[in-house]
């Protein structure tokens, strides 16, 4: 389904720990939503000096509430653009494009799954958990963050799946440590056949390593900086191994944000690996 650009009225704005949760009326985006999709929001108003969109994973979509479809997304304040968004109030409008990106692939048959969210990276995993469970897959969730304040979605996750493990780097909530410290035990507990994860790149790489050690797949959603979100600017690329065994720079906005962890060359991010398709043509530039 093609993305649309919508002027979305803000239905509610809720402060949740270090984050702000937006529910907006966006029927076109809600209609096409699948877990893993994201939206790109214009910031600063019509004559803004901030000309690029900000991308947010869709945390929920509701098309059956008896009124126009709504979506939810979580904003963490990083700079002037996200600050402008968190200052918006119910009744105001946001210019959104979506649903964007390639969503998480779902198993053809029920498979036990562990979902791992770092910080507000849990956002796209909540609707995914609901969908996996509805299809009969047992689901466990691990949430991690630097501090307790930066955790997100613990209650929602508990409501969905019951079994939620929490870790924080400083021990202010849950177990002190990293999500990957708890991952092996969770995989073994439910006999997981797949891992889904969203969060910072270091975490995704570590999740991929654990998946490989257990000979199971990890589907991960990256949080790359993007200028357009629709596939035209070529700024959000990652080095990814293709089915033909050759690696290319691919766009995380349209070819991702969901990738199979094994195909992403995490250690080469930010470099130009010489074996990349077309790297030989870069000499002299």
């Amino acid at each position: 389904m093609s993305p649309v650009q919508e002027s979305a009225e803000i239905f509610s704005v809720k402060k949740v720990g270090a984050y702000t949760e937006f529910t907006v009326v966006a029927p076109g985006i809600a209609a096409g939503f699948k877990p893993g999709h994201f939206v790109a929001a214009a910031v600063g108003g019509e004559n803004s000096g901030m000309i690029l969109r900000r991308a947010f994973a869709i945390a929920a979509a509701n098309t059956t509430a008896g009124f126009a479809g709504t979506i939810q997304f979580i904003v963490a304040e990083h700079g002037p653009g996200t600050r402008w968004i968190v200052q918006r109030r119910a009744g105001e409008k946001l210019d959104l494009a979506g649903p964007l990106g390639t969503p998480f692939p779902l198993p053809a048959e029920p498979k036990p799954a562990v979902l791992v969210g770092g910080g507000y990276g849990v956002a796209p995993l909540l609707p995914l958990a609901a969908q996996l469970q509805a299809a009969g897959s047992p689901v466990e969730i691990i949430l991690g963050a630097a501090t307790g304040e930066r955790l997100f979605g613990e209650l929602a996750a508990k409501r969905l799946v019951g079994q939620v493990t929490v870790t924080t780097d400083d021990g202010t909530a849950g177990t002190k440590g990293r999500v990957t410290d708890e991952l092996a035990a969770a995989i073994e507990r439910i006999g997981a056949e797949v891992i889904y994860a969203c969060g910072p790149m270091g975490m995704l790489k570590a999740v991929g390593d654990v998946a490989r050690a257990h000979k199971i797949r990890a589907q991960v959603s990256v949080e790359e900086a993007m200028a357009c979100g629709i596939g035209v600017c070529m700024t959000c690329v990652l080095p990814v191994r293709g089915e033909d065994g050759r690696s290319r720079f691919v766009r995380s906005c349209v070819d991702g944000p969901c990738f199979e962890a094994e195909t992403v060359r995490w250690d080469d991010v930010g470099t130009l690996p010489p074996d990349l398709v077309g790297a030989d043509a870069m000499a002299g530039h």
Binding site: S2, Q5, A42, G49, I51, V232, C233, M234, V277, A281
Partner: protein, 324 residues
Amino acid sequence: MADMTARLGKLELPNPILTASGCAGYGRELHQFFPVSELGAVVTKSIQVRPRSGRPTPRMAETPSGMLNSIGLQGPGIDSFIKHDLSWLQSVGARTIVSIAGGRTEEFAELARRLAGHPAVAALEVNISCPNVESRGQVFACDPVASSRVITAVRQVADPNQPILAKLTPDVTDIVQIARACNESGADGLSLINTTLGMVIDTDMMKPVLGGITGGLSGPAIRPIAVRCVWQVRNALPHMPILGMGGIRSGDDALQFVLAGASAVSVGTAVFGDPNAPMRIKAELEQALDARGFDSLADAVGYAHLDQFQRDARAAIKTKETVA
């Protein structure tokens, strides 16, 4: 309603709103938002002879009213482009201006040769704002001789039915000198302007933000530079058709370029923030022309250069025509 037909030399387009090279891929992504056949033309991302990986990330930094990019012309190469992208553009009825780029004069010529006779190619935009491998990476369009060599070589082998536009960088002392060299070498028109070189330093890491260190600045921040370049070239070479671009994000912005002397405009960075921008700008420009009493886009091209006497003379002719 003003007649929106745009003429770039012998190239006639139904309207003057084009995409800008590198800001619309090869059309497919924007086609999700509006039919790209509604554009005056799609100007493709620059295509090269071989596939290119592009530069390492980070490739982008947002700046006040603009952005820096350092993509490094990532692209599939001419074979894949013709097979997959140009054929798609043809299938949806899009007029296509193919942007060609190279590191050597012969590469530009080879690309023009490969595209000759292809029915989907309306024109070539020769991106000479790239580094010349044989001149220690100096940008072709910074040197009138190097610019002239590329345009001459392309002109010799290009399809005579495919007009060639030379795309110039504003990073020169005198853009008119380069424009003149291109004109004399057989360019049918000029695309003004490419990005201007910039840089941002991350003060936490205390190093350049971009993987490529420097990058091209685009967006409204460079609009006054672009309008100035169009004005200067129009003034010096009034008969040379100009495709204007640089920070256009409204119909009023587009009108500035037209009044300065552009026969058509490209919408670039605005697309990143608003995928529907080209269609919105087309409608806004039409309204702006109507509001000022222009019967056609052509009447507005270069109008800002006319003095009061010339404006009065035009008004008198128009009144006479209306009465007759």
